[in-house]
Every structure is written in structure tokens, then in C-alpha cells.
Symmetry: C2
Amino acid sequence: MTEKNMTMLCDFYELTMANGYFKNGFYKRITYFDVFYRSVPDNGGFAIVAGLEQVIDYIKNLHFSSEDIDYLRSKNIFDEEFLDYLKDFHFTGDIYAIPEGTPVFPNEPILTVKAPAIEAQLIETFVLLSINHQSLIATKANRIVRASQGRTVLEFGSRRAQGADGAILGARAAYIGGCAGTACTITDELYGVPAGGTMAHSWIQMFDTEYDAFKTYCETYPENVTLLVDTYNTLKSGVPNAIKVFKEILLPKGITNFAIRLDSGDISYLSKKARKMLDDAGLQCCKIVASNALDEYLIRDLMMQDAKVDTFGVGERLITSKSTPVFGGVYKLVAVEDNEGNIIPKIKVSENTAKITNPHFKKVYRYYDKESGKALADELCIYDEVVNDKEPRIIFDQQATWKTKELTNFTVRELQVPIFKDGKCVYDMPTLEEIKDYCAKEIDLLWDEVKRFENPHKYYVDLSEKLWNTKKDLLSRFKNFI
Amino acid sequence: MTEKNMTMLCDFYELTMANGYFKNGFYKRITYFDVFYRSVPDNGGFAIVAGLEQVIDYIKNLHFSSEDIDYLRSKNIFDEEFLDYLKDFHFTGDIYAIPEGTPVFPNEPILTVKAPAIEAQLIETFVLLSINHQSLIATKANRIVRASQGRTVLEFGSRRAQGADGAILGARAAYIGGCAGTACTITDELYGVPAGGTMAHSWIQMFDTEYDAFKTYCETYPENVTLLVDTYNTLKSGVPNAIKVFKEILLPKGITNFAIRLDSGDISYLSKKARKMLDDAGLQCCKIVASNALDEYLIRDLMMQDAKVDTFGVGERLITSKSTPVFGGVYKLVAVEDNEGNIIPKIKVSENTAKITNPHFKKVYRYYDKESGKALADELCIYDEVVNDKEPRIIFDQQATWKTKELTNFTVRELQVPIFKDGKCVYDMPTLEEIKDYCAKEIDLLWDEVKRFENPHKYYVDLSEKLWNTKKDLLSRFKNFI
């Protein structure tokens, strides 16, 4: 990792368009872009948004160095006036976003940018990259944590991550999603995600015998013992040696906080056998950690089979979200301002109905049932609409407009909060612990039906009547095309 | 991205083991570790190794800052003597590696580390992360390039990458694997991978009409035109407007080097229709670029259906290797030196036969047929074996030892080359262009049968008799366990 700032991490077309806007007088034109996603990874019921902190850092540091400008000049397609303009380039717009750790649903604006065209366009790639990556991993981590039903889940995947940021920020996102810690040391140092670890197989191989390796480890770290028991043979060698060493070294010191780790073979079978051997030896206190090819599906099955696992260490299938390794967030123009400052809604039509965008500068409201506290529905409104929680509210499905639902006895909150105002960060960034706690609480407010792994209930994300009419109106102008 | 060096990007257990080796006198013990992988992504016939340049940078910069040491001290498990030792920590060992761009096969050492135990252990996570990530993407890119049968393939995936390095170094790896360029600007600036791009849908939406948007673009960049034709309706609006603008603006200037891009809908159908419309308008010179959910499988089918595509822009399915997003490289202890400097081979046994490691400090030879030039087989030998290419050589399958093959009339080369010697980099790093060219040439030397997507021929990776005997001997010591 070098000192390079990330301003140049943009698709080249952002720059050709920027130069084009500059030359053609659009560059001061105020534009509105929404970040949203269309389908939930792993066919789940919701995603967890993450990656905002890195967007904020990026926006704050947005600038072109003289090397960047020299590089651009060497491409021989940019105007000198434009390159000159880039020397003082910085972000002057507004950003609104749904806070990290919030459950979010398809088609709602996770983040909205209001800025002059060049600025809003240029940040597209990095904003998407950051939100897509961390939302993907936070969402996956939460699935794995939910499958584990209260057992501890640790993130172990650095070596299989897609690059250094994949490991470092992946571990951050996994923590937001509910993991209790990580093996990735630098994520602890930089972000305070608790890192831990004890030994690899090589530790055991370094000694003449497994017993010597275990004994030396327990003498070195009596307070931090998890013995890896599968180097030679889990039940014939690893567990018996571990029991011997626990009794010889740790129990006499009064230490009862230790564990074994299973890293191969059938976790269900081995954990039950190992549990019995440990219990028979009077080591009920010894915890069992399992790792190796785990994800929410295998953990769910292991739990059903009553596997005796206290902690799951999850590697490649979490850090890459292996079963769905892409979070498809997109960045779409939703409005522009005319010369008088009127906001003109824009729509992107498509022959594929699901790809037609929701136009306009919008708000997202979430309705909660006053009695249960549970989230009932989200509603997208036009920016100047205000929801009155004193009166019943009728919402309706935009795919099936005859399906309406009357909400009564609800509380409501606006999900997006201001992050940047006129280029200044106005957001009081919560700590990572706060984000993690908030995430857990917000997920508690979702009905179990939305949290099911298979065929979850589809949470309502509806449009206000005013927004729906705007959309219909815009669509009617393109009716020859779709 | 900050100035932070990557030394702390390690699994925490590397540090607990390191401190343990330090305290227990093992830290000067010379150890040998191999990086290898067990199965080819997407059930392919081979992988392409990449990521070595970043390993070299990492090793050169390996050090602990005083902040790193303070952080470690705060964990209250490391000895002061060890923390003190870390102040001057740097790499003093040897590294051998197969050069980037080489086709590699399961179970052969891609990279071998010979170093004191602490050093060799500590670098495990980053070495694996770098090799795993870039080999994954180079391998995937090459599959996509092969499916495209000579059409140009461009990498377009930054926004869906798993973190900034996923985008930046993913684009580097894709270039090694055969992509002609990228949309990722910073990868061009940092690594010289040609970046390009023209417009997104938002450019078109910014104008009152698609025609105005196209016209303005062609006037701004007459030499760099690819018009995105699917914003409203590809065949009813986009292609007709593009044709009009090409004729009005570009042809009169004598420019014939331009293109349209299809980004939605059925690429096969639309490309044929668009090709006909362009040809009927006398624009045979106009190229067609296709993007949207492409990978080697869809491209193969499009080619079979004679889709009229000249350039494929490939996004998320390349930059995350979506169908197989993990390259499972591992790092295993294969030998240690005793106090007299004798190399003692080590093996990692497993109840799963495929997971038993190949012990010892090794060499990898690749045999080429003298007549065709094609690669015949690889052979793993013990470090001090020398293959004589004057005599026939009998190699045999380690899974089926009765299957032997006599090689005659061959040339042979050792695949690993020295990278670090006594902590100093001794490798003359090739340029990225050289790596890319070398990769293409080496892949030409593989038989087509190995390059098939479905059920490819399994290339021979055999053990020398001496190595096989060593392995058998070590295994016999564990026969009670496996």
C-alpha cells in the first residue's frame, strides 16, 4: 500500500465525461445521483450497508496531484483548461447516506450525491466500490452469524481475500455484520476490530512431537490457548495430547479458559467425539473451535446436527462472499437542476422493467410498528414530502399498484442523514463499536420472515403517490421505446 | 489508501508463533515453506501465476514501526525481548518463485521460502493473499480471452471489485492474463495498463436528446468515440442516432475509427441487427463493443451464435472471478534445517489423501517436446537433483505409480528462479509488457487439450523417484494416523 490517494481510482470515462462537461458548460450544473442495489446477495431478504467511512475519507482527500495531471496530459485528449481546473479540484457538493450497519432493501437510495456534474460523476467508481465491497461482506457476515445462533463467529480469511483492502476492510465489514473478531492484525491496529490467533500446523511440525508443541505453547501463553488438534490425527493424537497438556500445565495454574480447534475432517462427527473425550476427562470448560470451508449453509446444518462447536472461524467463504461475490450497487442520475435552480427529475428507462430507475431527489422513510417496534415498510418520497406520523398512511406496491397497505400506529424515521454539506463533512462518524451495536439492534427490528435464508418474505419498499406519479409521467415520454 | 506498510497484514497467529519461536530458541532455525494450490479455478486445466511483484515490494519494505510495536505491546502477550527484536526486523532469507505469467498446475511449488522460522512464518498471510488474488484474476482473464478467440477483451470491473486493491491489482492481473486494457485509470498511471473509456448513460441523460449527447461527444473527442447506444432503445434510437452523428461529424473529417457499445439486452440479437444497420449505412468501419454480465461462458456462446462483437468489456465476473472467487493457494512447511545445516524434510499428513503435502526443498522442472515445442509434463525433484536432457527420463504418476511415461527428445527448464538471496532482491523484475508477452507465449506451448474449458486433459505433475521415496518414507512414520 502506497501513499497514493484514490482520486485516480476512477473509470476513465468519468474523466472523458468530466472534460466534456467542462468544455460544454455543464460542469457547474447541479446533478443528483443515487446509489442503490437491485437484488440481495444469496437471495436473502435484506443487505447491510457498509463502507461509508471509507467514502468519507476518500471525499475529504479528493484532489489531483501534479503527477496525476501530468499523466492525464500524456493521454492527449484533455484540454489544458480542464487540466488547469483539476489543480484545485475538490468536492463542493452534498452527500446524504443511510448510516453503516442499517439493513437496506433493493431500489432504495443508500447514498445520494448532489453536486456539480463533474464532481458527482468523478466519484462514482470509488463510492460504488467501497459501498459494494463492504456491504457485500457485512451482509454475508450477518448471514453466517445468524446461522450460528449465538455461537461466536470469527473472520479468518485474509489469505484468500481479493487484495489487501479485501482483507483489511473486509474484516471491518465482517465485524459490523456481527463477527466477534478477526485474525487480521492490521484491522485491529487500524480499526480496533479485536484480532486473535494462536497457532498453525507449522507450529506443531516445528517440534519433534505434537505433545511438545502443545506443551511449549501452553507454557508460553497459558492465558491464550487454542490447540490445533488435526495435524496428525484429531481423535487418536490431537485431542489426547491436548487433554494431557491441559491437565499438566493449565489446570494446576487454575486456568480453565482454553480451547481446541478442528480444522479438517467432518466437524459434526469430530466435535461430538472430541466433546465426549474432553468431558470424560473432566474438561467441560474446554471450548471447541471449528474452521475449514464454513459458511452459513454448512453452519446451519452443523447446528441442526447438534455439532458441539462453540466458535466458528470462517475464512474464504466469508471474506470473498464466495457464494455471491458481487454486490451490484449502481450509481444513477436521478435529477438535474435547471438554470433557475428547479430540480428536474430524470429517469433511466430500460427494456428490462426491473432496471427502470426511480427518478428525482428523494427521501427514504422507514415505518416501525409502535407496538412490536418491528420495521413494517420503507417508502421512497420526493425530497420535499413530509410524513405525518399522526395520520394513517396508505402505501402501495409499485409493481402491483392495486396492492395497498394502510399503516396506523407507527413511528417513522428518515433513513438518510446528511454526510457532506457544501463540501464539508457534517457527519459525526460513529465508532465501529457503535455501528456494530446499531446493526445488531436494527436487525432485531426486522421480522423473522425477512431474515429467512430460503425464500424470505419480501419487505415492502414502496413509492409515495407523488413519486409514483412523477415516475409514470416520465415513463410516458418514453413509451415508444419500452 | 494510507502510507501504512503491509507488515501488519498478517494473521495474528503468525505473531504468537513468532514470539513462541523467539522464546523457545527456534527463531534462527532455517525453515522451508512452499506456496502451492490444489485445484484449478472453474475446473480448468491450469492457472496463471501472478502477484509476485507485490510480494517483492512487500518483502523489501518488511518492518515494524514503533506504532506497530506499541500496538503489539498493548495486547499484553508478547515478551519485551521479542518486541525489541522486532525493531530491527527485516527479511534475511531466500525466496525462489515461478515467474509471473507462467501457467502452473496443482501441487507444484509456485514460490518457496527459505528463512529463519519467524521470518518465514510472518510473511505467510501477505504472500498468499497477493499470489492468490492476482493468480485468480490472471487465470480468469485468460479464460475469457481464450473464449473471445482473438477479439479484444477489456477489464471494466472496478466498481464491483472487492476493495481498492481488488480493482487496481485485479486490472494488472487481468492484463497479464491477456486483457488489452482496463477502465481503471489508476492502474494505467501506476502500472501502465492502458486505460480507456468514453461515456456512461448519465452523459446521454445530461442532454435534452440522445442525438445532442452523441453529437457533442463526437465534437469533443473525434478520435476517441464509442457511443453508448442503449440509454433509451438500442435499435429504435441509439443506433440510428449514432449513424447520423458518425456521418455528420466523423466521416467528413475522414475519421473511420469509432464504435458503438451495447450494454443491455440480448447481445447476440442486438449486435447482428446493429451490424446490419451500420453496414447498410456504409459504416462497415464502425466497431461494436459489448458489455453487461459477460464471462467466458456467455462469450463462448455468443461466438458460437456468430454475434457481431469486436470488443468485449468484462466487469464483475472478471474482477471478482465470480464463478470461482477464491484461489486456494496454501503455505506449508516442507523442511527444516538441523543444527548442522542438514535439510530435514517435513510432511503434513491428512486423513484426506489429496491434502498430504509433498515434502522437502524442491525444484520444479518443465519438459518440452523438442519437435512441437509443447509442454509435456512437470516434475518435482529434490533440490540437489539435476536432470540431464541428454538421456531419456521416466516420470510416473504419484497417484498411480504404475503409470509411467518415458520422455525422450525433450528440452527442460527449471521453473523457479531466485528472487531473494540472503534478504537481497536478486531478481531483475520484467516489465508488465514482458510478463504479458511471456504469458501468451507460454500458453501457446500448452496443448489445446489442457486449455479446454470442460473436462480438460490433466497435465502431468510428477515426482522424481527420489522425492517419491522420501515421501513414502515419511508417510510410513504416520501410518497409524492415516
